[in-house]
């Protein structure tokens, strides 16, 4: 039996990735092998990567949103925001857990990366929660990781930008579609926090004196205005989401330097460098996916998958259920951007064929991939908080379990009630 070049290409990709070669480079290597075996021009790999990166204007939002989140975390915007949330929800049982979730919801309105949210907010709130042993470290880590997944679901959102690239959907409508599901997750997590806090008798925060509230609100005001500026800018038609990303970064820069005076030149350099690093890691993955997806396209794989799925005569809902099951399983093993760039493009043609709305599909996929960041063994957020708290992974996983279940319940609701996603985009003029 002879194997087709494409089969060998996939085998090589999987083997190299398992051997520990970075995924972007594994995809480039496997694609070069394919070109060799199929007797195609070997320069195609370079051509696809260079032209692909050069022509993907929307992708510029990725480095800019990373930069914006980094700037917010290094200035003291995050600290001030947390103080403000303490005023709002600190006085309930399990108050700091609520503060964690609410801060993530507000922060989600300015940042598009769950990892950045977990590090930025977690760095401060985990310390607050575990001081004097008020909350178990495992619980503090678990709720921080869980609440961080709201970040890329409420706009802006880096994964949605990547999805828009592979699916040709409007970033603006995708962003709007994430608002209601993101709020649902936030409320769901607060319900879980309330139940656990009651059962374990977690503390209540001392009420903030009334006369301090105006000062705290004034301090947090510039941070609170950023989501408003972004939303009005993007949906008022003033700027594209990519330009919105640049505006957000500028706003965070100005707020940190002029208003809060908390950013030195040296810190700015470090922020730019770390954003560049993060951009490069994601960029290499995108570069690899650009060549690999070219191979997948010339092999007509999406069409084959479409025929294969058509054979089952699935209803749109059965298809979505199947997609959710596949992605949740893959999410345990693969990193989110990889799933978005390699697996999701194959699922888009069948989704289209079955009449699934692509904005709805995109939001479902992104929520699903965010849950993947929380599921072991390869949940990136788990590693981030484990690294921050020096807790064993298993302890965090056990504490995160109720939150993961809640996230899956929300995923089920938005899958079967498309209106939860599409209501807001439709209100703003989306026609599906």
């Amino acid at each position: 039996m002879t194997l087709s070049p494409f089969t060998l290409c996939v085998v090589i990709l999987v083997v190299l990735a398992i051997l520990g070669l970075p995924i972007g480079l594994s995809m480039i290597c496997a694609s070069i092998f394919y070109l060799l075996a199929a007797h195609l021009d070997l320069s195609t790999a370079a051509e696809q990567i260079l032209n692909g990166l050069f022509n993907s204007y929307v992708l510029l939002a990725v480095p800019l949103f990373i930069l914006a989140a980094d700037l917010m975390n290094s200035g003291s915007l995050t600290d001030r925001l947390l103080k403000f949330c303490l005023v709002l929800v600190g006085r309930f049982r399990g108050g700091l857990g609520h503060v964690n979730v609410v801060a993530n919801i507000i922060f989600a309105g300015m940042s598009g990366s769950a990892i950045a949210d977990a590090v930025g907010i977690g760095r401060i709130i985990i310390g607050m929660m575990t001081r004097d042993g008020r909350y178990p470290v495992g619980y503090a880590a678990a709720i921080t990781a869980s609440a961080a997944i709201i970040g890329p679901i409420i706009p802006p959102s880096i994964p949605m930008v990547v999805y828009a690239l592979v699916s040709d959907t409007s970033i603006g409508y995708l962003f709007l579609g994430g608002v209601v599901p993101g709020l649902m997750l936030g409320i769901g997590f607060m319900v879980i926090n309330t139940i656990i806090a009651r059962r374990r008798n977690y503390p209540v925060e001392p009420p903030v004196p009334l006369r301090d509230i105006p000062r705290i609100t004034r301090d947090a005001f510039p941070a609170l205005m950023l989501p408003v500026v972004l939303l009005v800018g993007i949906y008022g038609g003033v700027m594209t989401p990519t330009e919105g990303a640049a505006a957000a970064a500028l706003y965070a820069l100005l707020a940190s330097t002029l208003i809060y005076r908390s950013l030195s030149f040296r810190q700015l350099y470090i922020v730019l460098l770390s954003s560049a690093k993060a951009t490069t890691s994601v960029g290499m993955l995108i570069a690899g996916a650009l060549v690999f997806n070219y191979v997948v396209t010339i092999e007509n794989i999406p069409l084959s998958v479409q025929h294969f799925i058509a054979g089952f005569q699935l209803t749109p809902f059965a298809f979505l259920l199947l997609v959710n099951a596949i992605l949740l399983a893959l999410g345990c093993l693969l990193e989110g951007t990889t799933v978005l760039l390699v697996i999701v493009p194959i699922l888009i043609p069948p989704a289209k064929m079955l009449g699934v709305d692509l904005v709805h599909f995109g939001v479902v996929v992104v929520v699903n991939i965010m849950i993947g960041l929380l599921t072991p063994p390869f949940g990136l957020l788990l590693f981030v908080v484990a690294n921050m708290t020096k807790q064993p992974l298993m302890v965090i996983v056990r504490e995160a379990l109720p939150f993961i279940v809640m996230a899956i319940v929300v995923l089920a609701i938005i899958t079967f009630v498309p209106q939860t996603v599409l209501w807001l985009p439709t209100l703003m003029g989306y026609k599906h």
Partner: protein, 173 residues
């Protein structure tokens, strides 16, 4: 050259490579802001800013992959790699690195030809030659080959294998 001097030279070069990427990302950011400012505030759209931002993005990705990314920053699937003993990791590293160097080397002549061929084309606004703009890919390919040849060599000699750290909050300060 003594190994200490080689080491400090390496560090010095790495710093300069970091300077370059910081400048690139700063230029990208500033041209974006200029673009928005001129289009919406002054109502005079600039064409070249689009071009500069996209160029910086391509260079940030490939320059960073060549000179900045350390093993810990790379996104990889390391469930298996992290579980196996050091000797197996060495074997893993040798096999994957040799495969990478071989495949990149085979495709290098054609890639070289492609980049040179692009000298006929010039960018729309700034008129820069594309062979120059795309040369970063050649730099990237050669440096990645050298990096992996070195990795394989070190694994064979038993000096070191890449770590298994998955995330080191690399994208935040």
């Amino acid at each position: 050259m003594s190994s200490a001097r080689r080491h400090s030279l390496g560090r010095w070069l790495k710093r300069r490579a970091e300077n370059v990427i910081v400048v690139l990302i700063a230029i990208m950011f500033i041209s974006f802001l200029l673009q928005i400012g001129f289009r919406y505030l002054l109502n005079r759209p600039l064409g070249w800013t689009d071009e500069v931002t996209v160029l910086c993005w391509v260079w940030v990705v490939l320059w960073g992959a060549a000179f900045i990314l350390s093993d810990e920053d790379e996104i990889r699937f390391d469930i298996v790699y992290a579980q196996v003993p050091i000797s197996a990791r060495r074997a893993f590293t040798v096999i994957s690195s040799v495969a990478l160097v071989t495949l990149f080397a085979i495709s290098l002549p054609a890639t070289w030809g492609y980049v040179l061929f692009m000298k006929r084309e010039k960018s729309a606004y700034l008129g820069m030659r594309f062979d120059f703009l795309y040369s970063i890919y050649l730099i990237f390919a050669v440096v990645v080959m050298i990096k992996h040849a070195r990795l394989a060599w070190r694994a064979l000699r038993g000096i070191a294998v890449p770590g298994t750290k998955v995330v080191e909050a690399a994208d935040t300060p």
